[in-house]
């Protein structure tokens, strides 16, 4: 090194040789790069910038002296000068970027957060298990071509019983413990056997909805009726006075018992999975004939036999059968032309089974510790 570039005598072109100029360019370049490298902050770098590229900068002064060189020597020195200048600019730009990036890094570092310190934010709520189960069931049946029908929860004796082939004093009425409404003089409880068609009950099943559908909709009918039902039952682990059922109804030409069995099997595998199948056993309901009990493979042991299914491999899900001709006739449907089937089962129990809940009452405490689990 020949000392600081600023001290390089360059004012007099006469005593300047091209070699000396090249040497001082080289020196200025070296010193400039060192200065850039030495700048630790962007302020320092700004200062360096003015010494490198300002009017009094070493390379600038050399450039001013360029004119005194013989023309044939100018090109080589000029080229060296440009190269040195470009090197310094590149080094400066790089250093500037580097310093900016590191300043940004430092700034962001100061923004450090422990994300686990975050206090709880807004929570999402939860749908009731009965709603979740009902919707899941509806989706399966809608996929199978069914519509969803609804009807009133308070019903006349006609819709809840008589139209369903359960005339007054029918012994099978005792299969349902019925809650009657007190609507003034029109209602009398009778001798526990019901009777007046205009008596008003809280529906004991969603079958009245089937009647209402058949009254207004000519067949073919493919519909399900989910909803709330009522029984005069004391609440215990497996009974509630208010619970939920889903029933299905198909009325069409040529509908047979095999169609019932096939539909229930399709539903079973769609809802419970391929490992679970269904079977029908003879049973009795006043509104169907032939009637059947609808069992599915035990969902706990998948048929191997366990405590839940009392080692039978099957659990009882609900009732079903071919719609009784009297029921069709009560709705003005010619049962020689149209036949149909119906089925029904509890929704609450499906929710219990899916989640391993032992006590039905837990589902209705409205305890947030229960609700928020699902």
């Amino acid at each position: 090194m020949n000392g600081p570039a600023t001290d390089t005598p360059a004012s007099t072109a006469a005593d300047v040789s091209p070699e000396a100029l090249l040497a001082s360019i080289d020196a200025a370049r070296g010193e400039g790069l060192a200065a850039v490298a030495a700048a630790a902050t962007s302020d320092e770098l700004t200062q360096v910038e003015s010494t490198l590229f300002g009017r009094k900068a070493a390379l600038g002064q050399i450039k001013q002296g360029l004119g005194s060189l013989p023309p044939d020597q100018r090109a080589a020195v000029g080229r060296a000068l440009n190269e040195a200048q470009q090197d310094l600019r590149a080094a400066h730009a790089e250093a500037a970027d580097e310093l900016a990036a590191s300043a940004r890094r430092e700034q962001l570092q100061r923004e450090w957060l422990d994300l686990t310190e975050t206090p709880p934010g807004p929570e999402r709520g939860h749908l009731h298990l009965v709603t979740q189960t009902t919707e899941r069931l509806e989706d399966v049946f809608v996929g199978m071509g069914f519509t969803v029908s609804e009807g009133p929860q308070a019903e006349t004796d006609w819709y809840n019983f008589e139209a369903l082939n359960l005339p007054a004093a029918h012994p099978a009425r005792s299969m349902w413990d019925t809650l009657y409404l007190d609507l003034g003089e029109r209602t009398e409880l009778g001798d526990g056997e019901g009777g007046e068609a205009s008596n008003v009950v809280l529906r004991t099943h969603t079958s009245p909805v089937q009647i209402r559908v058949m009254e207004v909709q000519p067949p073919p009918i493919y519909t399900i009726c989910p909803g709330r039902v009522f029984r005069r039952d004391t609440a215990d682990a497996s009974h509630m006075p208010v619970f939920h059922q889903i029933e299905g109804l198909v009325v069409d030409r040529g509908i047979s018992f095999a169609d019932l069995a096939g539909t229930l099997e399709e539903f079973t595998s769609a809802y419970f999975g391929k490992a679970i199948s269904s079977r029908l056993r003879p049973s009795y309901f006043p509104f169907t004939e032939p009637s059947a009990e609808f069992d599915i493979t035990c969902v706990i042991c998948e048929g191997a036999g366990c405590q839940t299914c009392q080692r039978t491999g099957w659990i009882e899900l609900g009732g079903c059968g071919m719609v009784h001709p009297n029921v069709l006739a009560n709705c003005g449907i010619d049962f020689e032309e149209w036949t149909g089937f119906a089925f029904g089962f509890g929704i609450d129990r499906l929710a219990l089974m899916r989640h391993g809940i032992d006590d039905l009452r837990d589902m209705y405490t409205n305890d947030i510790r229960f609700l928020s689990q699902f």
Binding site: R124, G125, H126, L127, H128, T131, M144, G145, T147, V148, P152, Q153, A154, Y159, A169, P171, L179, Y180, L181, D182, L183, T187, L189, D191, G192, E193, V200, Y222, P241, V242, V250, G254, I255, S256, F257, A258, D259, A261, G262, L280, R281, P282, S283, Y284, E289, P290, S291, A292, E293, M322, P325, E336, E337, T339, M363, Y364, N366, D367, L371, S372
Partner: protein, 817 residues
């Protein structure tokens, strides 16, 4: 209904694996709820009491020397010594003896042990300990003909027996008897079935000389059979009979009662025995009561008859029994009875059902009569009773010659025309007439070719059968009923499986879909779904501050706490919030979408009286959404209202309203949908909160869901509004507005006066304080202006601004600040 395999075998040669038989029974519709293989109890053998000695250390037990071939022990003369707490044995009695190592039915393992210093080398057993009878007091004394040392169960004829507990459907009266179950099972197995003819040796005078029957109401009693049996001595029935009765769920009482029950279980024919000496002239009459008559029944209670109830009366028309339900105390069989008047009747099903339900007296007999008994079995069952009583009475009994057979109205024999095509249609598989016969004949449904060629329905009549329904199947009355019998005996599981397809695609209605969406909006807003009980205590309605409603009452509630139907969702949800608060979850947010009930909509009186249509008598049902925020403020509920409006494109607005039911007196508003009131929003009356033990405020929203979903359904089709590509301008306007003017009114005025270019109005600041005139507050709105087709000029913006200011100042006595 419990049946023993050995008993079934008395009617048909039923063989096979007991578990397979159980499957057949279930498959036939008699679901086996429990199958019990009777324990072989090989360790319990017949032993003889060789001697009885007092226990030197104890009064309540004695020492028994038990003689058992091949066994020696500590007792006198090398007999086994047993400590026993019963004292009913005498020397020489045969008793059931549980040898050391035996596991008893209850699980107890018999071991050799000392009682008060004396060795006990086994156990003498009571009937109860062996689960063969009810008697737990004394040791079973076995008949002297039993073989010493032989296993007890084989001596009782119970070895290897199987007990099935069957669930019998109400439409199967025939299955309420051992014979009926055997008939069904035999048909399934293809083996012959037969009810053996009872053998009765008649010795006494003719029955008509000592007894008479009169059916006064023929519609009540179709058949009334009577026999008289003399030389009866009331005693214990034999062990085999006691064992069968006990296993089938009946308590052995005495020989006459046991035989009566045995015949009922076996043939499904309930019967009643009178002490002939207590029935004047042996006369039995039956009629309906005119009401008001009283009778003390066998259970000791005095019963008052209502008009129409069936009665048995004596010669003097005095009630001595309730038809088919329970006998009277005044003619009851007792230890001194020597002559028995036996009644075996067929009663009208509905009459029995009505009376037994009314009296709350459901007996084994009434259960069978209700379902329908077999009137053709009356003579057979009478004879079977005599045969059995003769067999179980030491020395036998004398049976008077002949039977009385009173006749009333019996149902005519049912004949059903059965078309193979219809059967095939209903069951989804072709059935020929021969196949149908093969299935129906064995269960007593006799088929003949129908000679009636006239077609009766849509199905072809080819090969139609005329099926005669037997008297034991009163439930089978139509062709469809026969289809069930065909299906049952063919096997439900063997019928095919096909899936019919709806001609229409499945779908939810728009309202059903939107209701689901609504639930999800609520869940997204942090509310969880509750399902409170729709039944309330009358008091709960008042406690929730709802004074105006007249809730619908239940006629027969289980409890007063559940005696009215909710007129609002507030009582249930505030109780749910209180429940959570009392379990240290203070700030729950809950919602419910559910029905609230009101009295039937009145209409005008004239038509209401004449109109018995369902709509006129049914209570009104309205589906509401209720939402509660424990610890929340009115703003929470207002925000949710706005969220719902945004989610479904609804024009919901609020009008402040004071003194709403259950609401904070001045922090409440009505929710309007397109100007119509559809609900309320705000805070729950703090008094109501306090009554429920809630110390915090509660925000509340309740809206009628139906109009909401209808409007949402319409709004779902709303057209797209082009998003403008031109720049927008914002202007802020703050007004001093009198407190009596709702902010929403100011906003509406702004929206109405700003014209098409006013795209949004947001309330961004509210100020109340010293700088405001009393009775006013400052409301600051940010207005965004934008045109679809141009950039608004400064002049146009200024113009709109001035229009808005003028409109608000003019409409609301407000002043721009």
């Amino acid at each position: 209904m419990k049946v023993l395999l050995s008993w079934l075998r008395e009617f048909a040669p039923i063989e096979g694996d007991p578990a397979e038989l159980a499957d057949h029974l279930s498959d036939l519709g008699m679901a086996v709820e429990e199958m019990r293989m009777l324990p072989p109890l090989d360790g319990v053998v017949v032993a003889r009491v060789a001697g009885l000695r007092p226990h030197p250390e104890a009064d309540r037990i004695q020492l028994v020397d038990v003689e058992l071939p091949g066994a020696t022990g500590e007792g006198t003369g090398g007999a086994l010594q047993v400590c026993c707490g019963a004292f009913n044995m005498t020397e020489g009695d045969l008793v059931p003896f549980a040898t050391v190592g035996t596991t008893m039915p209850g699980g107890l393992v018999i071991g050799e042990r000392r009682m008060r210093g004396q060795l006990s080398q086994g156990m003498c057993c009571s009937a109860a300990e062996l689960e063969l009878g009810a008697d737990a007091e004394g040791i079973m004394i076995l008949p002297s003909e039993f073989e010493l040392g032989a296993p007890l169960m084989s001596q009782l004829g119970l070895a290897g027996d199987v007990l099935y507990d069957l669930e019998v459907n109400p439409n199967r009266p025939d299955a309420m008897s051992v014979a009926g179950v055997a008939r069904d099972l035999a048909a399934r197995l293809g083996v012959p079935f037969r009810i053996p003819a009872p053998v009765v040796s008649e010795t006494g005078e003719d029955v008509s000389t000592v007894a008479s029957v009169e059916i006064i109401d023929a519609d009540l009693c179709g058949r009334f059979g009577v026999r008289v049996i003399r030389d009866v001595s009331i005693g214990q029935s034999p062990l085999w009979m006691q064992a069968r009765l006990t296993l089938c769920g009946m308590r052995p009482i005495n020989s006459v009662v046991d035989v009566s029950n045995y015949v009922m279980l076996e043939l499904g024919t309930p019967n009643h025995t009178y002490d002939l000496a207590l029935v004047p002239g042996g006369h039995l009459g039956t009629r309906r009561s005119a009401g008001g008559e009283r009778l003390v029944t066998l259970d000791g209670s005095e019963r008052e008859m209502l008009r129409g109830d069936g009665l048995i009366v004596d010669r003097d028309d005095r009630p001595i029994g309730i038809s088919g339900v329970m006998g009277g105390e005044n003619t009851e069989i007792g230890d001194s009875t020597t002559a028995v008047l036996l009644e075996l009747a067929w009663w009208d099903r509905l009459s029995i059902s009505r009376t037994s339900q009314r009296l709350g007296l459901r007996s084994e007999a009434s259960m069978r009569f209700e379902r329908g008994t077999d009137h053709e079995l009356v003579p057979i069952a009478l004879d079977r009773f005599c045969e059995l009583l003769d067999r179980v009475t030491p020395g036998g009994v004398s049976v008077c010659r002949g039977r009385l057979d009173g006749r009333g109205d019996l149902p005519p024999t049912t004949r059903v025309r059965v078309r193979p095509a219809r059967m095939s249609h209903l069951l989804g598989r072709p059935f020929s007439s021969d196949e149908l016969r093969g299935l129906l004949d064995p269960i007593g449904l006799q088929c003949t070719e129908s000679d009636d060629a006239a077609p009766r329905g849509a199905e072809p009549d080819d090969g139609a059968l005329e099926v005669t329904i037997p008297s034991f199947r009163p439930d089978v009355v139509t062709e469809t009923d026969v289809a069930e019998e065909v299906a049952r005996h063919y096997g439900y599981q063997r019928l095919g499986r096909t899936v019919p397809r709806s001609p229409e695609p499945g779908r939810l209605t728009p309202a059903q879909r939107l209701r689901r969406d609504l639930r999800r909006v609520l869940v997204g807003a942090g509310l969880s779904e509750a399902m409170p009980n729709p039944f309330l205590a009358p008091d709960a309605v008042r406690r929730a501050g709802i004074d105006g409603a007249d809730p619908v009452r239940l006629l027969n509630p289980l409890a007063t706490e559940e005696s009215v139907l909710r007129p609002s969702l507030l009582p249930g949800l505030i109780a749910a919030a209180a429940y959570n608060s009392s379990h240290r979850n203070d700030s729950v947010s809950l919602f419910e979408i559910g029905v609230v009930f009101g009295p039937p909509s009145a209409g005008d009186a004239d038509t209401a009286a004449a109109d018995t249509s369902a709509a006129a008598v049914l209570p009104t049902e309205t589906e509401h959404l209720g939402a509660i925020w424990a610890g929340g403020e009115a703003a929470d509920a207002v925000h949710l209202t706005e969220l719902i409006a945004t989610a479904f494109g609804l024009r919901l607005s609020l009008t402040n309203a004071n003194d709403l039911d259950g609401m904070h007196p001045v922090r409440a508003a009505q929710v309007l949908l397109d100007g119509q009131a559809v609900g309320v929003v705000g805070e729950v009356d703090p008094v109501v909160c306090e009554r429920h033990g809630l110390s915090q405020r509660c925000a509340w929203l309740q809206v009628n869901v139906e109009p909401l979903l209808a409007a949402a359904s319409a709004a779902a089709e709303r057209p797209y509004r082009l998003v403008s590509t031109y720049p927008s301008s914002d202007i802020d306007l703050a007004f001093a507005v009198p407190n009596g003017v709702q902010a929403s009114q100011v906003r509406s005025t702004l929206l109405a006066s700003g014209g098409d270019e006013l795209r949004s109005v947001d309330l961004f600041d509210i100020y109340r304080g010293d700088q405001m005139d009393p009775g006013t507050r400052s409301l600051a709105y940010r207005l965004r202006l934008q045109a679809d087709d141009r950039t608004l000029t400064d002049e146009q913006v200024a113009d709109i601004r001035q229009r808005c200011i003028d409109a608000v100042e003019h409409a609301h006595s407000a002043v721009l600040r």
